[in-house]
């Protein structure tokens, strides 16, 4: 442990990794609570996986894959949001189609590349220790946008989440709020790609929020707690993966799921004992 902190002072890449973990925890704390309470978890999964297509396109055309991921995530967010608002087709069907079409297009684009295929696994499963200074800068900008939007419109978010129809009757443009939230989810996914990757992003989005939901009432309190829990989990995961040379994304995800299980079982036992 002490060795880890000594190295953290010495090596830039550990500092970048710690910054990336902290930023990821912040967006997961805010957006995670919203998607858990508004039941948008599967939709977020769809957005995340569609982003893989953008990664592939970035490799094929030679631009930064993370920007491609951002572009595809936004397209998926608006596409799913649009079809969901129009009704007709069940939104789970649409999410499923975006989900697999995104993955397929990523594979397709990479296969079109001449020569040796690049290593895509860091985008799928994350590699927090490979976060560069420019990665952290992009993550920081996106995190600031997410935080300001969530805090600035907090009462509107709360009204939209609790009873969007009532807000609509009052004249609040809930369609705008819905699309804005889709955009924020897309940004969150991009922040998470470096840390846990596309496939594992759902766990880091939902686990801290779900743990906070077991521990505290109140929306604001849950966001603060989820951020704190996420920070502890990502930094612990980073330390474990650095010290024992484990896959960082997988370590962080398994740690968050384990934390959820421990809190869940603990809470169930305590409430049973209080009843008995």
């Amino acid at each position: 442990m002490i060795e880890f902190f000594q190295d953290a002072f010495q090596y830039r890449f550990i500092q970048h990794a710690m910054a990336a973990g902290l930023l990821a925890s912040i967006v997961c704390g805010l957006i995670g609570v919203i998607i858990v309470e508004k039941r948008l978890v599967m939709m977020s999964g769809g957005i995340a996986h569609t982003a893989y297509g953008g990664v592939g396109l970035g490799f094929l055309l030679g631009f930064e894959p993370i920007l491609g991921a951002f572009l595809f995530a936004i397209l998926a967010a608006f596409g799913i949001g649009f079809i969901k608002r129009k009704g007709g087709t069940g939104s789970d069907v649409v999410i499923g189609l975006f989900w697999s079409a995104g993955m397929a297009s990523g594979i397709f684009f990479v296969a079109l590349m001449p020569g040796y295929p690049p290593d895509m696994s860091s985008y799928l499963f994350g590699n927090i220790l490979s976060a560069t200074a420019s990665d952290v800068r992009l993550m920081a900008v996106l995190t600031i946008v997410v935080v300001l939007t969530v805090i600035g419109l907090f009462n509107n978010w709360k009204a939209w989440m609790f009873d969007g129809e009532f807000a609509t009757i009052l004249g609040v443009n809930t369609g705008f709020l819905e699309y804005l939230m889709m955009l924020l989810i897309a940004m969150t996914i991009v922040v998470l790609i470096r840390v846990v990757g596309i496939i594992l992003a759902l766990a880091l989005l939902t686990a801290p929020a779900a743990i906070a939901a077991l521990l505290v009432p109140g929306l604001k309190a849950r966001m603060v707690w989820a951020t704190g829990i996420g920070t502890v989990i990502t930094l612990t995961g980073l330390w474990l993966s650095y010290g024992w040379n484990l896959a960082s994304g997988a370590t962080i995800v398994m740690l968050s799921v384990a934390c959820f299980l421990v809190v869940y079982v603990g809470k169930t036992m305590i409430s049973k004992r209080n009843q008995g």
Binding site: K158, G171, V172, G218, A221
Partner: protein, 267 residues
Amino acid sequence: MNESHTSAITKEPVSALHVEHLGVRFGPVVALDDVCLDVADGEYLGIIGPNGGGKTTFLRAVLGLIPSYSGSLSIYGETAGKSSGKSRTSIGYVPQSAAVDKQFPIMVRDVVLMGRLKSRITLLQRFSHEDRELADSMLEEVGIADLAERQISALSGGEFQRMLIARALAVQPRLLLLDEPTASVDANSRFQIYQLLNRLHERMTILLVTHDMLAISTHVRSLACLNSKLVYHGRPELSEDSVRDMYGCPVDLVAHGLPHRVLKTHG
């Protein structure tokens, strides 16, 4: 004083809700067909009808939550556009409590404060001191002021319903729309809710959609039946025939309370 869109019959009192030939379709399914209704200011109207008869659809059309394909409606003389997105602050809406997420992490007072939400999306919107006082007095009005700091997941069905009424009142409406307000409450709460509505009726128009025949016969001042078409009955006197027509099967009507005649041959 109001120059808006009054018809030739200007002597009539201003109508709270005026619906003309309203039609709503879901794809090929006609949910509402040629519904005409005029709710006078100060009325207490009950709408009954079978499940799937379009009662909730009618309320949602009035609220602008779903588009209509024909007809028009105006609320206190103001024509409501076909599209949503226009604020309807003269209406206080109490949805079916089953339609609201009871596990959402929010305090009772904060739910009522939603009624004070501004229609424009502005940064760092805060509720003023007056808004908070108004929310508290509405909680007082519906009789759950002591629960203001409670999480909504800890409320009983009746308390939850009264909280939704308090939220609608916080809008300071002239017309209160309620969708099955007693669907998920016990008998005692039901009685209290109808007492509350009787009290509110002194200062606002009430439109109530319900299955509750007892409520119709004892509280409501006028009655309409809705089963895709709407039949207006004026005084709440139901005939077995008219109810059978609406529901498509025989329905037992229970006469309740001496001053009210519920059963009458339908003219």
